[in-house]
Symmetry: C2
Subunit: 342 residues, 2 copies
């Protein structure tokens, strides 16, 4: 039979009529083929293919009381690390027959609430909240909706969370720099109060700096700069600020890769040699954030993070209780860090 382009969606009943069977037999052929006779199965399947029958998922959903969907709440879609994470989540979801609903909230509280309502309306299985600001918006969330957050602080008693081991990352960077002889290590953080990851990294720096060879913690070495979309742009401000201090640092840790790359580029453009004059390191670990020379940075294990986020939401053995996972990171030594200048 020549395939025909359908003009109108067919239902089980039409297919049943065409195959001279009952609707439930059609349903059975699709869902429990082993419970049907060969002859009937073949006949029905032939009709299904010939007419391009596609079962109405909405009816299935209604019946099963679930939409098999996961919602992703995210603010900044243009952050490539989050892109990678969502892509990975998409793959995992696909394998498990889930689909991903994108709720891009752009820090709009009303939008957040409307999306949240929609998630309940479609009986979403779970919500994965990425880099979302703390909020009490989840208080009326239905029990059947699991919520798990990445890189953000929510009600830790009721909801699970996953985060990279930012502390470990900073420690690895500091160890590396100190081995290279650095003692004057600055930290460029971001001024966004909502980013939990940034806060943790900054705290790790503040705590660890004193424990390594008893370096003094200096206020002037830990400064806030513009982050988010404009992180790379902060490079100029970072160099201008730190290199004009009376006692400038010999190494600068940046809160994330874009900031580090901006810093690197600006340093080079004003004649500061990296790493001969200044060492620079980032945090995130995206292959796309490649630079010349290659950036020393901390790699986050996005695959593992995605898997845990997914399991926390759909795997019954995990989702039944609240977890707070911290995922190991790894140091990636590039060419932007080197021995301190004598």
């Amino acid at each position: 039979m020549a395939p025909k382009k359908p003009k109108q969606y067919l239902g089980v009943r039409e297919i049943a009529k065409l195959a001279h069977v009952s609707p439930s037999t059609v349903s059975r052929v699709i869902n429990y083929p082993e419970r049907t006779s060969d002859s009937v199965r073949e006949r029905v399947n032939r009709i299904i293919q010939e007419y391009h029958y596609v079962p109405n998922q909405m009816a299935k959903n209604l019946f099963s009381q679930s939409s098999n969907s996961l919602a992703i709440f995210i603010h900044d879609f243009t952050n490539p690390f989050y892109g990678l994470l969502i892509q990975e989540l998409g793959q995992i979801a696909f394998k498990n027959q889930y689909n991903l609903l994108i709720c891009s909230t752009l820090h709009n509280k009303n939008q957040e609430i409307e999306y949240l309502n929609y998630c309940q309306a479609v009986r979403t299985k779970g919500i994965i909240s990425i880099d979302n600001h703390p909020s009490n918006m989840y208080e009326h969330l239905h029990d059947s909706i699991k919520l798990v957050s990445f890189d953000c602080k929510v009600d830790s008693i009721h909801y699970s969370s996953v985060t990279s081991n930012h502390y470990q990352g900073i420690e690895l960077l500091l160890n590396h720099l100190i081995q290279l002889g650095h003692r004057k290590i600055a930290f460029a953080t971001v001024n966004s109060p909502t980013m939990q990851a940034a806060k943790l990294r900054r705290q790790a720096y503040q705590q660890l700096i004193g424990w390594h060879h008893n370096l003094p913690y200096r206020e002037d070495y830990c400064q806030k700069f513009e982050g988010g979309n404009r992180a790379t742009h902060s490079g100029k401000a970072i160099i201008d600020y730190f290199m004009n201090l009376p006692d400038p640092p010999t190494a600068i840790l940046c809160n994330n890769d874009p900031m580090a790359i901006g810093t690197l580029m600006y340093a080079q453009s004003v004649g500061i040699r990296v790493p001969e004059d200044l060492s620079i390191a980032g945090f995130d670990g995206l292959t796309e954030n490649f630079s010349y020379p290659r950036l020393t940075t901390v790699l986050q294990d996005y695959k593992k993070i995605a898997q845990i986020l997914f399991d926390d939401v759909v795997d019954p053995s995990r989702s039944s209780e609240v977890h707070h996972d911290i995922v190991d990171v790894a140091l990636s030594i590039g060419e932007t860090t080197g021995p301190v200048k004598k």
Copy 2:
């Protein structure tokens, strides 16, 4: 009443019972409040709020025969430009009560087909295909599903498309460079055969180079390098190749911003001054792709693109026929292009 966390989803019937009205009255209060008396409306609304009643969207969908959803087919999620585009699409969709289904296909044909099937199963209103490779997978797509593609070539008779005016972009760049005195202008393209945008940019370069002051088209000035995720990494190869030609160019156009930034960084790291020794320009126009010095590039109008994509799929006055829109671009002159060295 103290708000109570629901243990189980309520239906119209429960609400109706609690408010001492019939289910249809509850439905009417929600959908046609003006057709109800004040007293009943208030009473029902009070119960709805008190019990956090959320109408089951799946039942509504089943009844309305539509899921009010749009699917986005995309390969590379980590491209920030596509992130920006999807974010914008998400905003437009939200305003119009649509939701976005993410189908991240990663060049996997089977996955593409399964997603496509799912889209039909949920009676998706439309599919927006971003940077997708040409394929005949759409041939059995149901008539009610509108398809529109961005930056990719599909069956142009049956499906609409939107694309930036790549030709215009290249022309603006070439005019700019020629005004600066450049005559030896190279083009670094990508080796991906599936990217329609790259192909159009390369063709524009090849055609235009001869028309501007009768510059000769030189094979050796138009070369392919690695693109996609590793575009930035191509910087070394680009510089190594072009600058070692017997007659090296004075300006390099790159197919996209990441390539241009990689080229810029590598050039600087090996002591080539930009723009004094070499002019470099990109294409895409993302604020995140900021560099020092600031990159000369072509800005794509992602807001307009998103709006057209959306309208092509849901606006009946547009979606009823096939459109092929080409969106104007703008030149953003930065500091990586300058007068040619004498």
